[in-house]
Amino acid sequence: MERSDPILKIEHLVVETTGRRPATILNGISLEIGNGETVCLVGESGSGKSVTSLATIGLLPKSALAARQGRILLEGEDLLTAGSSRLKELRATRMSMIFQEPMTALNPVLTVGRQIEEVLQAHSSLGAQEQRRRVLDMMEHVHLPDVERIYRSYPHQLSGGQRQRIMIAMALILRPKLLIADEPTTALDVTTQKQILKLIRELQDALGTSVLFITHDMGVVADIADRVCVMHHGSIVEEGSTDEILRTPRQDYTRDLLTSVPALMPREPRAEKSGEAILEIIGLGKIYSARSLFRPRQDTVAADQVNLVLRRGRTLGIVGESGSGKSTVARCAMRLIEPTSGSIRIGGEEISHLPRRALHPYRKRIQMIFQDPNRSLNPRLKVGESITEGPINYGVPRPNAVARAKELLELVGLPVDAIDRHPHQFSGGQRQRIAIARALAMEPDVLVADEAVSALDVSVQAQVLDLLDDIQERLGVAILFITHDLRVAAQICDDVAVMQKGRVVEYGPAEHVLRHPQQDYTRELLDAAPGKDWDFPNFRPLSSADLPAESFKR
């Protein structure tokens, strides 16, 4: 690809922490973005990709980070040496940025119209009427409905996707040359993500903007990038066109990243073991009602008529977008919240309405692994204390519980001496292993994993999924696996239930649901999965033969 003058050129950028012992965060990175080009900066957490973007727009937190060497050239002008008033002029006019969390990125006490208008106020001398007209115009451009109403709305009155559209409108209203997008779709549901990616593409084509797109998701990379820079520990380890990177990665790290991405295709079905039904959820309903003296009662149906069966040694996945009720079902099954109706049976015993004391013996049979391993372990307790807490509650003598904890730590792939350490001494993936050991210490029949790998980097995610698989193989435990990620579900589940608005819309063997979906919603979900055309671990696009025909007809 022939590139004339790059819009953005970063040369040997070094960013260090401030303080007496500076640590290097960016280790001399260089990259270029040509006119109208989209460059994806991809890497796992801590690779320095967000720092690169903040350094470019000049918003590094002054008290913590500082650019020490190198140049950042925006159309030939060095941003690192530019004064702060010059940087202010350039922002929104020549370069803009959108962020990950559209909820927190908008000021909650100002109307969104006002917030877009501010950009015009700061950088132009248009009259109030003209400003307003331009803002409404831009809001039309990002396909917001009913712009007059939304103009007067506050951020909390809009959906996540609408808020991100507002952010994009704000960023592009002055037609900057460069748009920096820092994980702009990570906090959104897949279907919304797809729309936002499409919108960015569309505006980019219309306005000729160059995009620096930061993401951790190879699927998004496959969908949006022209070129890719792979970052690892503050360096760019590999750079190339999207095709080059995905088909012929040269570096081991890139290969590792790609092979860790779970395939969207369901795994080979396992031999149907006619295990007993260990967990049965029958007609489960959960209604949250917000009572208020002066308002009509507002009922939110979180789960409605949910029927699921989990057999010994099998994995049942519940997939769905946020607010679909998948976590509600899991937490009802755990009796962490009280179901409104329906029944929950463990090994045939009804537990849905047992009082605390009567529930006690059943608690140990169903255990949970939480999403955020940083918060699911009490930071003040030693790992051993956390693991043995449960068994001791059920009368296991302490020495036996400790001995068992050591065995379990080995089983989950951690050194035995971990037992005397505190959670903060471990990485996220290791903590999730500890959480798994804690759950296993109860010798449960059912493991409930609520988004248990969602907070982990993709390479760590793959290891934890392997571990769960391995444990199931050895111990025959049944797993109820809650996830928003169809790839993960395809990887680990025997059966899949798709939930939408509190209801199970499709339920069956993974092979059927993911390969031959019957319901529109399931198809929509599959269709929205980023990078669906790629078979990442095998470095090739999916041939049409691999594609589940029905779902991808467009």
């Binding site: 918060r375 372990l377 009490n378 003040r380 807490e389 449960g390 509650n393 001494q425 290791q430 290891q463």
Partner: protein
């Protein structure tokens, strides 16, 4: 897929992050505050050895003498040595300060824990606490003292009552935040009993903010005791407390300002030291709060 769990075990990146005690961050001011407070505490304990004169015995022959070799800071209107009275005054202030801190935490901690956990109790308890907090603490203390009569215990009770709601609110808010933590849910899931969850998983979260709060209560109690004595609603006038000394000095303010100046200075240094130590404790125990700098 292979079952090799050890395929690629992540390195232990994070070393143990001790609550890094930055001596530099602790600062010169906190060290000085610590020394000042230590001196005041030792003075209080060894008052009989330090004070050259009886702080109560009146001696009309030497009324309102200026500072001299015999009377280090001069004498008051009844001919009592000002220095000796200030030395003894440390006892009262420290007793009230430490006493109020201990009692209010001892009562507030369990109430706050319960309120954070039981909704119905919470509703009732917090209404009571809101009510108590609506009464200006000086007026509340004045009312108690004027009903029950002057005395160390009365003053202690009068000062502690308005502090209790602050402790309860603090503990409750910490518990309400902590009980949402997944590790508390995990404890429920492994069948831990309610008392165990409170003691093992919730209570430890309250300790750091409580220690900080206790130092502020201590400072505030010393201040209120002085104000009560100054207004004539404190410990009986025969007891040498800093507030009493100043109260008696008011009449002679234009004639002999040192009667207010010296006890006022010592009182201010004492409260300042405790507040500074409270800030230092907050920075040490909870670095995240450092930047917030919220007193009370």
């Amino acid at each position: 897929m292979a079952t090799s769990v050890e395929r690629r075990v992540e390195p232990v990146i994070r070393r143990r992050i001790l609550p890094v005690v930055e001596v530099r961050g602790l600062g010169f001011a906190s060290i000085l505050a610590g020394i000042c407070l230590l001196v005041i505490v030792l003075t209080g304990i060894f008052a009989p050895l330090i004070a050259p004169y009886d702080p109560i015995q009146m001696n009309p022959a030497v009324r309102l003498k200026p500072a001299s070799d015999t009377f280090l800071l001069g004498t008051d209107a009844y001919g009592r040595d000002l220095f000796s009275r200030i030395v003894y005054g440390a006892r009262i202030s420290l007793t009230v300060g430490i006493g109020a801190a201990i009692i209010s935490v001892a009562i507030g901690l369990p109430l706050g824990l319960l309120a954070g956990f039981f909704r119905i109790l919470d509703a009732i308890l917090m209404r009571i606490m809101d009510g108590l907090m609506a009464i200006p603490s000086i007026l509340l203390a004045i009312a108690v003292v004027s009903l029950a009569g002057a005395g160390l215990w009365t003053v202690l009770v009068a000062i502690t009552i308005p502090e209790i709601p602050r402790v309860v609110r603090l503990v409750r808010s910490v518990v309400l935040t902590a009980r949402e933590e997944p590790y508390v849910e995990a404890a429920i899931a492994v069948g831990s009993s309610l008392p165990k969850i409170m003691w093992r998983h919730l209570m430890p979260n309250t300790l750091a903010p409580l220690i900080v709060q206790a130092t502020y209560i201590c400072a505030s109690a010393i201040l209120i005791e002085a104000i009560l004595s100054f207004l004539g609603a404190g410990i009986g006038t025969e007891t040498p407390s800093w507030g009493n000394i100043m109260s008696e000095g008011r009449v002679y303010f234009q004639l002999k300002p040192s009667l207010i100046f010296w006890p006022g200075l010592v009182l201010s240094i004492c409260i300042l030291s405790i507040n500074l130590l409270g800030d230092a404790a907050r920075d040490l125990l909870d670095p995240r709060l450092k930047q917030r700098g919220g007193l009370k």
